[in-house]
Homo-oligomer: 432 residues x 2
């Protein structure tokens, strides 16, 4: 271990929410950072974009508009990419590696789509590529998957990895509010963006699912491999039924490895109330992992935010700086040793909650049960309740585990039944 | 990264519960272990003690009664100490390091008392000393504290780190059973030992508290520094009051760092129902961490057991094997850079729950409130209920935050009051 007087110089690309947090943490916690890393970390240059100009956080820092200035500076050993999005972030990371720079990023978009290219570039140029902040914000999950749970055959990763939707579902559950109301509230609190599509339609969570599945199962899963449903169709009625049946409604990233292949999907689920993830509320995130030795583990904390995400970014910087200052060049690199097939969503098996509006007359239940049975869907429970509509009833069915293609068949059959007026919702049940 | 054909030889000391688990995991998961470590890990020798002889798990393994045979074998790079207890485990670890062996252990007893000596020896002989399994069984917590949360000034670590007592308190809470009944049940289930003292009196948790505090605050805390109360005096009445007041009763390892010094204590607490640790039930463990950047994080999973603990041990072996096979000699080593003072238990501040049996007559409440006030204890809430005893009442007080020495003064004063017949319990409230 070298003396604390040694310095490793780093450059930061982007000084937005997370970038600003990194600047603050590097400054405020410089003492413990140099003690623990065994070396001083010096923020040598900050690449700013037009919208960053004049930000108070940049005061006293050496800023530049020139990315070339950064990659051509031989003193800079680590480039921290916090611009986000695909362009120009991806090109910047690749170029930084080509110039021998280690790269730290929080960029889930690039990794979920172009992870393979990034890892191959890192390997080619023998540099480190670290991305703890890309999933779960401040929660340590990437390192635990790459270094702590590695004695296990992992079989399942379930994640609440989007704070916006978890906040919204929590509020809907707490006060019975509907989707539109909680979305507006989330927007006014700054928990949802003006255009909330990436969150509420599950895109953000799907990127994280791709990263988690790739790491857990050692096989590349990209964004395109992830099946995706958002939370826009969740109603107070569904949340009520969930409560009465012993469940909570969560938007989960579900990653499974079985003989059918890898499943990676993001969708709302009915989750048993006593599941460790069920009590994760508000904007908090958690990732639940199942493995053959450990059985289960869960990692919980803030999944976003300036300082929490900076906590993850700076830990990556510190671990690389320690190696740089000791001339150690041992990287774990890409861990996708295998090429497992992706299980199609049609072949994926779960239980389902299905809510129907039906005519309130004798024989309806029989007709519905027969339709399900003919499609190979076996029912675990059926509850009939009054509907607001005259001469109608609601029927809520929980199925046994069944392939999605059977459910799609059943949906077709139900639609053809004259007694079925509407299929009001279908939500997967995570029953394990 | 070297080819998977390379081999790193390891030796195992002890083939009990955890040792047996390590043998199983190394065998069953050999494929992913060599893929992820980048090298084959070969269990070359197992040191057995008399009670291990003839165990089926040892079949086909190269066993020996001679520790010298292991340390004098230059091929063996990692020694895995899973004998437990101080003697001979500590001497074996020291001698192994003196012979240039890296050491992996689950031994909280030795680390909590002799951590300094072990780290100094590791540094002197330039070997790795890894102990992920010493706290929280399979839960990744040591590595997250040493490598993931390092950008933070950590201020608090709260742990449910003893499965036996958490199981007992969970059962008491679920079905109103008393301490003796749940202890017997825990013993019959194999969750408590015939002599349960180390668990129920908080000794096991105190060892883990010492390790957690040392890592979190970068300053050596030993077992002797940890204040300790067990769960033997917890009654169904206390658990009932907790429920009614919005708390659960948990045995917590509490580690805090403030300007008063480091607090490390193990005792029952009233914990708010919505605290992330409150829903951790049964034999499961969890460690909750607070830091200035991340705010909060929690790590949850099985805190004991053969395979879960082996999951942690084998991950340590794999990380060292990767370095050994790449001739990399960079260890984080001891992280106790500071010498912070320990805050005396008398100066530690919490709220308290205090339950008193008093005479049921006018003026009692006033006398008690005055006695508290005179000792500098300010009350947050007071509830009076009927007692089973004729002409008596129970008074339950929740105090504001106050130093323990004031509570001890108040206890003395209360005992002197003729209207106070019994101080039935005093339990700290973790109110943050």
């Amino acid at each position: 271990m070298k003396s604390n007087e040694e310095v490793v110089k780093v450059a930061l690309l982007g000084s937005g929410t997370v970038g600003g947090g990194v600047i603050k943490v590097l400054k405020k916690n410089a003492d413990v950072i140099s003690q623990r890393a065994g070396v001083k970390i010096e923020l040598d240059k900050v690449l700013i974009i037009q919208s960053d100009v004049g930000k108070p956080i940049l005061e006293g820092l050496n800023t530049t508009f020139s990315f070339d200035e950064i990659i051509n500076d031989p003193e800079i050993k680590i480039v921290i990419e916090l611009i986000g999005g695909i362009k120009p972030a991806k090109d910047f990371m690749i170029k930084a590696m080509e110039h021998g720079k280690n790269v730290v990023t929080a960029n889930k978009d690039v990794i979920a789509q172009f992870g393979k290219e990034l890892f191959e570039t890192a390997e080619k140029y023998n540099v480190e590529f670290a991305f703890e902040a890309s999933v779960g914000g401040g929660i340590p999950i990437i390192r635990p998957l790459k270094e702590s749970l590695i004695a296990n055959h992992l079989t399942e990763v379930l994640g609440i990895v989007n704070g916006t939707t978890n906040y919204m579902l929590t509020k809907m559950s707490e006060n019975g509010a509907d989707y539109d109301t909680v979305l507006k509230e989330a927007q006014s609190m700054g928990f949802a963006e003006a255009n909330p599509a990436a969150d509420v339609e599950g895109l953000d969570a799907a990127r994280k699912a791709a990263i988690l599945a790739s790491l857990a199962f050692n096989s590349r899963v990209t964004l395109d491999d992830v099946y995706r449903e958002g939370i826009t169709k969740i109603t107070p009625a569904d949340i009520d039924y969930a409560k009465n049946l012993g469940y909570v409604v969560k938007l989960l990233a579900v990653c499974k490895d079985s003989e059918k292949g890898i499943e990676a999907r993001v969708h709302p689920v009915f989750l048993k109330k006593d599941h460790p993830l069920a009590s994760v509320s508000g904007v908090l995130n958690a990732i639940f992992v199942r493995g053959d030795a450990i059985n289960q583990a869960m990692f919980f904390g803030p999944g976003a935010g300036s300082l929490p995400t900076a906590s993850a970014v700076v830990s990556d910087i510190m671990n690389i700086a320690r190696k740089v200052s000791n001339d150690v060049n041992l990287h774990i690199g890409c861990t996708c040793f295998n090429q497992k097939q992706i299980c199609s969503i049609e072949d994926s098996e779960t239980s389902y909650y299905i809510r129907l509006l039906v005519d309130d007359k004798p024989g309806v239940l029989g007709a519905i049960a027969t339709a399900f049975g003919n499609c190979g869907v076996s029912l675990k429970s059926v509850v009939q309740t009054n509907a607001d509509e005259i001469d109608h009833a609601e029927i809520v069915v929980i199925t046994h585990k069944v392939k999605y293609k059977n459910i799609l068949d059943a949906e077709d059959s139900l639609k053809k039944l004259s007694v079925v007026d509407e299929i009001r919702n279908m939500i997967r049940v995570e029953s394990d």
